[in-house]
């Protein structure tokens, strides 16, 4: 049962963005998120949208793939937009109708429409930006590595950075193994006449118990064996541990960080000096 599970959605093209240091990418995503929430002016949004489009082009990840990643969130995007259309109060009334007398009047303002559009755009560029940098152009292992190394200073205040990174690595390692195991257990239960696909919600939930219990039991057994195997290989936490692949910041990484900060500064400046429509 070789199930082909792709963890994350890494799409390797070997572009500059793929080759950047994960720490630089982490920093970029951080400034990018801050920029998006700081942005108020239409021009600032346009600027950030350009940044995202440029990123997608440079990374050479097919744009259709990136857009497909938005699919599961279409409902959330629509929901926030619709709420904004109806709930924003502005100056220029476009449409009004009393639905229940003296109680509920629907007012749609021009500002409401623009706000809704901008908020939808905000979510879309946020998702596209982060997914290009985090899932399409960075492998999970680079990401964990980047987090461990990037957050290393926090060790001084006793944050167990190495332990968290190790846990993430092991979790990623065992996702496909446990999926295989789940399928095996399901088939074993089906072979004994278990039924997972009919009945109401409660009946179906109950049918899952004979899957979950063996899965837990075997996971604990695996955990114990893995712990022994790790001990045999002299694992003793993060102290005194070296790494095979050492992350090294190159000039391009520093340039990239500089660009990230410029982006944030740019957004703030546009907010102050541009006089486009401002988000309410």
């Amino acid at each position: 049962m070789a199930l082909d599970v792709t963890i994350g959605q890494y799409y390797g093209t070997g572009s500059v963005i793929h080759r950047l240091d994960p720490r630089a990418k982490l920093l970029f995503v951080l400034t990018f998120i801050v920029s998006i929430f700081v942005a108020k002016d239409v021009y600032a949004f346009a600027f950030l949208a350009l940044v995202v489009i440029a990123s997608v082009l440079i990374s050479r990840v097919p744009i259709r793939l990136v857009l497909k990643g938005l699919k599961p969130l279409v409902i959330i995007i629509l929901f926030t937009s619709v709420l904004n259309i109806f709930l924003t109060r502005g100056e220029e009334l476009l449409f009004t109708k009393e639905i229940i007398k003296d109680f509920w009047t629907v007012n749609i303002y021009k500002e409401g429409l623009i706000n809704a559009a901008l908020l939808a755009l905000r979510i879309i560029i946020l998702l596209m930006g982060t997914s290009v940098y985090f899932s399409y152009a960075t492998t999970p292992i680079e990401l964990t590595d980047g987090l461990e190394r990037g957050l290393a200073p926090l060790k001084k205040i006793k944050v167990p950075v190495h332990e968290f990174a190790m846990m993430m690595t092991i979790a990623l390692r065992f996702i496909p193994t446990l999926i295989d195991e789940t399928i095996k257990i399901m088939n074993a239960q089906k072979a004994r006449g278990a039924d997972f696909s009919t009945g109401g919600l409660i009946k179906r939930a109950k049918a899952l118990i004979p899957i979950i219990i063996p899965l837990f039991v075997s996971s604990f057994r695996r955990a114990e064996e893995l712990a022994t195997a790790m001990e045999c290989r002299c694992y003793h936490g993060g102290n005194g541990r070296t790494r095979m692949n050492v992350l090294k910041m190159k000039i391009r990484d520093y340039v990239f960080i500089f660009l990230s900060l410029t982006m944030l500064a740019g957004v703030i400046l546009i907010n102050i000096y541009a006089n486009g429509y401002k988000l309410l």
């Binding site: 292992i141 496909p176 290989r233 002299c234 694992y235 003793h236 095979m244 692949n245």
Partner: protein
Amino acid sequence: MEPLIKFENVCYTYTGNDAEPGMFAVHDLSLEIKEGEFVAILGHNGSGKSTTAKLMNMILAPNSGDIYVEGNKITGRELTDEDVFEVRKKIGMVFQNPDNQIVATIVEEDVAFGPENLGVPSQEIRKRVDEALDIVGMREYARHAPHKLSGGQKQRVAIAGVIAMKPKCIIFDESTAMLDPMGRKEVMNTIRRLNKEGMTVILITHYMNEAVLADRVIVMKSGEIYEQGDPKDVFCNVERLWEAGLEVPQTTELIFKLNKKFGWEIPLGVYDFDTCARLVTEKIKEVRGENVGN
């Protein structure tokens, strides 16, 4: 020369305590393993063979008796982490289930795990990882995800992970038990090659045809050594092995039964199917010839 590993009257019990020992998993066990040797440990389930392995690299500590690694006593005193690492660095272990001993999501990262823990400098790790993957013949899979490999390949990655720590001895704790015949062959070939290059190998197994490849066989029963010696001598004692609930190699069993039934005297120490077939055919021809002659 000092033996690599030496057990002196070692006892271990999972249940009970020192004052009131329960069932002994290992009882009054004394053995020596020399450097460069290929030793197979055989035994029924619950005969104490895996416990013996775990005692060797300090996963378990004995209730009584002493264990020496390269002449250094590793029992009977408070041990520091350093002591434990020294032993585990020398004696690596490969387990039964390859899935439960691979830590990383990329083959070479996993092979690097051991040396990383030992604090080996980065460039040296790179070198060791490449060498180890070459030895097990998995270099081309260095950047692959382990869950996409076959059982035998995964087990070879696990072996590479141990080799990269540069141990003197590797213990294989039923490392072929979960593999298909192909995978078993891959792993056994790797083990034999390692031994030829000077690695001490301790192979714990159920499979007789794996045990016959060893220099020395130790048969365990109820936590004690039941029989040991050259595989040829041990396996020739067919009835004694049957008493211990063990199988003998199929070829030995066939020849033993034929010898018994017809009063022949074909030598028992034959493990190769072709040689066995040739010997039996010759014997049959010889017997027929005699009959015709009469």
